[in-house]
């Protein structure tokens, strides 16, 4: 497998005003400043006036990325989610060549990853699977020898992990 070196990836969670063109402003800002977007997912929040953009950016200068995004008038808040402090998920649809005995083998591998068959073709199987980005990559590697016909991934979405115990006392941070 060819590996491409890339700057470190950072998951940013943006709370933005739910208005036309905000996604364009965010992507334009990143493109203009030369920051590469690895993945991007956007959707509504529980507040109809707000949207959430989860963007995975490849950059050595993540502070600058955050500051430039913050300058956009429609961006209200930005959180950087450390993988260890966040639940990160991607969804993948993957179509694998599978005929004859290969079909059962492919299904066995998929089962281990809790991937569900969502479409059956005469020479292929299509799975839906959700998980951590690393888990999806493992599954891809295991299915690759069978022949991956098509692969569609959602952008990564992420949420910070909640506190596991009641804080003993409040401490000002600043």
């Amino acid at each position: 497998m060819t590996t491409f070196s890339h700057p470190p990836r950072h998951t940013l969670s943006l709370v933005v005003e739910n208005r036309p063109g905000v996604l364009a402003r965010v992507s334009s800002c990143l493109a203009r400043r030369g920051f590469n977007i690895h993945s991007l997912a956007v959707g509504p929040t529980i507040d109809p006036g707000l949207s959430r953009i989860t963007v995975v950016v490849e950059s050595e200068k993540i502070e600058q990325v955050k500051k430039q995004l913050h300058k956009l008038i429609n961006v209200i808040r930005i959180f950087e989610l450390e993988p260890s402090m966040a639940v990160e998920r991607e969804t993948m649809l993957i179509r694998v060549a599978a005929t004859g005995t290969a079909r059962t083998e492919v299904i066995e591998v998929a089962n281990i990853f809790k991937a569900t068959v969502v479409d059956v073709g005469y020479n292929s199987l299509t799975f839906e699977v959700t998980g951590r980005p690393a888990k999806l990559n493992d599954l891809i590697e295991l299915l690759r020898p069978f022949g991956v016909v098509e692969l569609v991934k959602s952008g990564r979405i992420a949420i910070g992990r909640a506190a596991k115990s009641k804080p003993s006392r409040m401490r000002a941070v600043g």
């Binding site: 933005v16 364009a24 600058q64 209200i76």
Partner: protein
């Protein structure tokens, strides 16, 4: 509340914001807005090109400190505004641009004079709006003026489809800004301010590095006071000229690519560099890896993204320049000035050894620097000086002593040739009692001189000294220094243009000086004319180059002080 059109709402909103003067050109999509303008007290200056309207708005804003307003129609009208918008974004100029757009039902259908204005100007504005409901007009315009003039100022564009302008609406005074994502930090963090004061108090070779942020936040007084109570010398960037008077003993003048040796070298050798309202632009720092390597950095700016963008700050302070300098003065309290006599003596030695210089021979060609000095002498420095971009701009900044802010207007960050003529018109229209003198290169002048027709038509008596060296002088200089003297496409065929006739053809007075002794009298003659614009052609030495110079990307340790023999 009476029912009005969207157009009337636009004009009422502009009046509500206190706008008295706008610059623009009408056209199909913006026509509805021009109808209520006809009966409004707002004065409209009809530019000859939308780029001119944009730079006029910028010149107005530079000179007055108020928001400049320009108007254009859809499509080409709007795209012609892109350069002034990008210019204003780079130089943090408060500006509101209003553009017409094709009717909403036609948007996206490649209609006549349709361009995706909001998309095109997104990276050239601080923010922009596409209005789809005429009821939004008062709030949008109120937000636009607030965004343009607060925090780090900048241009804001409002795109108004023709049907929105024609629809019925009601005007209401905007109540709430409703900008949840926009809350500029204006006061410096007290702990950071204290740290900065302590760092400076312990320093022996400090320098204050100040720029456009001082001008924008009206911080000159605070800056001068802080410099005086601490005894710290100050360098003023191209954008910050006049932040502290050039005549002040602590003012070292302009640093950077064409800065003076002392300003450049004091930054290179300082132990603490305290930066206020600057952005460590490459024209100031040269190669950033070799810029002020031994210095600790205090960096205060209202735009957090500027702090650490080029150079990591030891003490970062997000704040408005005036407020943070006021905080610094308070935090300094009754400490004595810094014991930096040795440092100041070194600086004096540099100033004596490496002054700015040029050689005007009485029977030689006119040196452009001499024109600047003559103009300063004759006006007593009491003028708003406007420049375009290139050699003439550097000479103007080098050889004019600025005594206060908002007296020096030029295109810094974007380096927009053609800026001077329209910017001077905007400045003069905003400050009719001031003498507004543009110095321009012949290359720059030929980009926007048609706006002198605007000036003549609207009785805006600006004065423009055109430095005719028959070339894109700075390009030619680089070709001579770095491209083996191969003057590829840099010569302007000076013999083609008669600037006196050109001026007269545009309703202006045209004058010309060809030898040094004519310079003073011709400039005096230009000052005596106040009923129409004046163009003064200065036939200057075509071989004169701007020095000192730090070649692009070079280290500021290697200042080229003058031409090598044979250059």
């Amino acid at each position: 509340m009476t029912t009005i059109t969207g157009s009337q709402s636009v004009i009422s909103s502009l009046e509500h914001e206190g706008v008295d003067l706008i610059f623009g050109i009408p056209g199909g999509a913006i026509l509805p807005a021009y109808d209520p303008l006809y009966s409004s007290p707002i004065r409209h200056i009809l530019a000859r090109h939308e780029q001119g309207a944009g730079h006029m708005a910028a010149g107005y804003a530079w000179a007055t400190g108020r928001v400049g307003v320009c108007v254009a129609t859809s499509g080409p009208g709007a795209t012609n505004l892109v350069t002034p918008l990008a210019d204003a974004l780079m130089d943090s100029v408060p500006m509101v641009a209003i553009t017409g757009q094709v009717p909403t039902h036609a948007v996206g259908n490649d209609a006549f004079q349709e361009a995706y204005t909001v998309g095109i100007t997104m990276p050239a504005t601080k923010h922009n709006y596409f209005v789809t409901d005429p009821d939004d007009i008062p709030t949008v315009i109120h937000q636009a003026f607030h965004l343009a003039s607060s925090g780090r100022p900048g241009p804001v564009l409002i795109d108004l489809p023709k049907d929105v302008l024609n629809q019925e609406t009601k005007w209401h005074a905007p109540q709430d800004l409703e900008l949840p994502g926009y809350k500029p930090t204006l006061d410096g963090h007290p702990r950071r301010v204290k740290e900065a004061v302590e760092m400076l108090a312990a320093s022996r070779r400090p320098v204050l590095y100040v720029g456009g942020g001082i001008i924008k936040s009206e911080a000159s007084e605070a800056l001068t006071r802080f410099a005086e109570i601490t005894n710290i010398p100050v360098v003023t960037t191209l954008m910050g000229r006049g932040a502290i008077p050039d005549s002040h003993p602590l003012c070292l003048g302009m640093p950077g690519m064409h800065g003076n040796y002392t300003a450049i070298t004091s930054m290179q050798k300082c132990d603490v560099l305290a930066a206020f309202g600057v952005r460590f632009d490459d024209r100031v720092t040269g190669d950033p890896d070799h810029f002020a390597v031994g210095a600790k950095i205090i960096h205060a700016d209202v735009d957090p993204a500027e702090i650490g963008k080029v150079r990591a700050a030891d003490i970062p302070i997000v704040a408005d320049a005036r407020r943070v300098l006021t905080q610094m003065i308070k935090a300094w309290g009754d400490r004595p000035p810094i014991a930096n006599q040795e440092w100041l003596e070194t600086i004096r030695e540099w100033q004596t050894e490496y002054p700015l210089s040029y050689d005007q021979q009485p029977d030689g060609p006119i040196k452009p620097q001499f024109v600047i000095e003559e103009l300063a002498r004759i006006t007593g420095g009491d003028a708003v000086l406007v420049a375009g971009v290139g050699q003439h701009q550097m000479w103007a900044s080098q050889f004019w002593d600025f005594d206060r802010p908002r007296r020096w207007i030029n295109s810094g960050g974007l380096g927009t040739m053609g800026f001077a003529v329209p910017a001077a018109i905007g400045a003069k229209a905003g400050m009719p009692d001031e003498l507004v003198y543009a110095v321009d290169g012949d290359g720059c002048f030929q980009m926007t001189f048609q706006e002198l027709i605007t000036a003549a038509a609207h009785q805006v008596p600006v004065k423009v000294a055109v430095f005719n060296n028959g070339a894109h002088g700075m390009v030619k200089q680089w070709q001579k220094l770095f491209y083996g003297g191969r003057l590829s496409a840099s010569l302007l065929n000076a013999e083609v243009v008669d600037y006196v006739k050109l001026a007269e053809g545009m309703g202006c007075i045209g004058l010309r000086a060809e030898v040094p002794e004519e310079v003073g009298p011709i400039l005096e003659k230009s000052l005596a004319i106040d009923d129409r614009p004046v163009v003064v052609e200065m036939v200057v030495d075509p071989d004169e180059m701007v020095f000192p110079m730090v070649p692009a990307g070079g280290s500021n340790d290697n200042v080229i002080l003058g031409p090598e023999p044979g250059d």
